[in-house]
Amino acid sequence: MIEVNNVKKSFGKSEVLKGVSVHVEDGEVVVILGPSGSGKTTLLRCINFLETADSGELTMGNISVNLKKANKKQILHIRRKMAFVFQNYNLFANKTALENVMEGLVTARKIPKDKAKEQAKEALDWVGLSDKYDYYPSRLSGGQQQRVGIARAFVLNPEVILFDEPTSALDPELVGETLDLIKRVAQKGITMIVVTHEMSFAQDVADKVIFMDEGVVVEEGSPAQIFSRPKEERTKQFLSRIISLESNYSI
């Protein structure tokens, strides 16, 4: 179980998160939707301490920490239970695909090198990159890089994987295969929080959909509830725009 309570965050004068609470059960896939600037990504980054929230509590299993006051040791402890998949992949540019996947195992988890190598190869095979072990990220396509990114997160066997718009930087052809892969991660029963703009993915995979706007959670519920019977006016408005856009362009 992972839970954040009353997360607040401002950048200068603009208040990006105005007290957001999210509760995720073990094995649950939660998709966060919302327009740009609604604070989805910031929330995800606060959960992984990539951004220091102004206030808020994080509970993971039986550990509870203050998002603002957590010390280095607590942050490291929590981070090592999580993994993060970035919008622009952020693979280590100086390491090959295999080394990228091994890094967290060897340096952070202190797993012996040969054992880590085995696990990393397994993970890369699983994402369909068995022929790209020794390629540097600069030689991989965006889709391949993101698959390495997912393998790097998956191999750590984390309690939760956070996905920050994992397909936004990909060209349309590659979005599908990457989403399929994320779906396969979900089927493994790993807890996931996914920020995305892919509505059909949310409908297919999510156990729970959270709709955010202007730094607050507007509405949350099952995909059926959110997509077919949204209660809030703002949710209806957002969905009607997105869905009309999608039908206009998908000829």
């Binding site: 090592r80 340096t107 952070a108």
Partner: protein, 236 residues
């Protein structure tokens, strides 16, 4: 103006004798400059509170002072105050016991610290913040991230600027003749004090510096290719 090649060789030999002095001046300053420059750059890039501001001011102010002016200033202070300082620290040395090459090394070191810190800071800033974040996200500590992810990517970026600095410092080391230290340039014109003919001496000094520079640039090119092998093109 004639060019006497025998005399040129004499000047060259006279300059070569003083290569150890130049190496001492440059090597000690560069090494110290590299170590402290790296520390300053890391403090500034990773924004360690308070010290980062102090160091920023120090670097900016110090880089505004010409090296000759700094050198002459330190030499003056050294001549005037060293005896008092030695007495204060209960040292049995006087200004005559200390080789003033150390004044030269001191001045070059401070210059090297500032320029090296700027080179390394520039290289650190060229690396995307996402690389740090990716490191943290797989559970690395800040120090592990810097050592295993950031520094290896920074090195090939820093090398060209670093070489520019090293070469600059080698050439700048000739200014220490202003306080009477003999190094390559001053050494090469020693025969001139006897013959009043300086052209060959200057040419000899230029040749020695040039050889040094070419050698260093060659080594740097090799190193850069080796450290930058993860880049798409080995030439960029």
């Amino acid at each position: 103006m004639g060019f006497n090649s025998d005399y040129f060789w004499e000047c060259l030999r006279s300059g070569i004798i003083y290569i150890p002095n130049t190496i001492k001046l440059v090597f000690i300053s560069l090494l110290t400059g590299f170590i402290f420059g790296t520390i300053i750059a890391l403090i500034r890039v990773y924004k360690v509170p308070v010290i980062n501001k102090v160091l920023a001011i120090f670097v900016t102010v110090y880089q505004g002072v010409p090296i000759v002016v700094a050198l002459l200033l330190y030499n003056l202070l050294f001549m005037l105050e060293f005896n008092n300082l030695a007495k204060f620290l209960n040292l049995s040395k006087t200004v005559k016991d200390v080789d003033n090459i150390w004044v030269g090394i001191f001045a070059l070191t401070l210059t090297a610290i500032c320029s090296m810190s700027e080179v390394i800071r520039g290289a650190l800033l060229s690396i995307d913040k996402g690389q740090d974040e990716a490191g943290y996200s797989v559970g690395l500590t800040k120090v592990q991230t810097i050592r295993r992810i950031i520094v290896p990517q920074m090195v090939p970026v820093a090398i060209p600027m670093m070489i520019n600095n090293i070469v600059g410092l080698i050439k700048a080391s000739s200014v220490v003749m202003a306080i009477g230290i003999t190094e390559i340039a001053a050494g090469a014109i020693i025969p001139g004090s006897r013959t009043y003919s300086f052209f060959e001496g200057y040419a000899a000094a230029a040749l020695i510096y040039w050889t040094f520079t070419v050698l260093i640039e060659y080594l740097a090119g090799r190193l850069r290719k080796h450290t930058g092998k993860f880049k798409r093109s080995s030439y960029d």
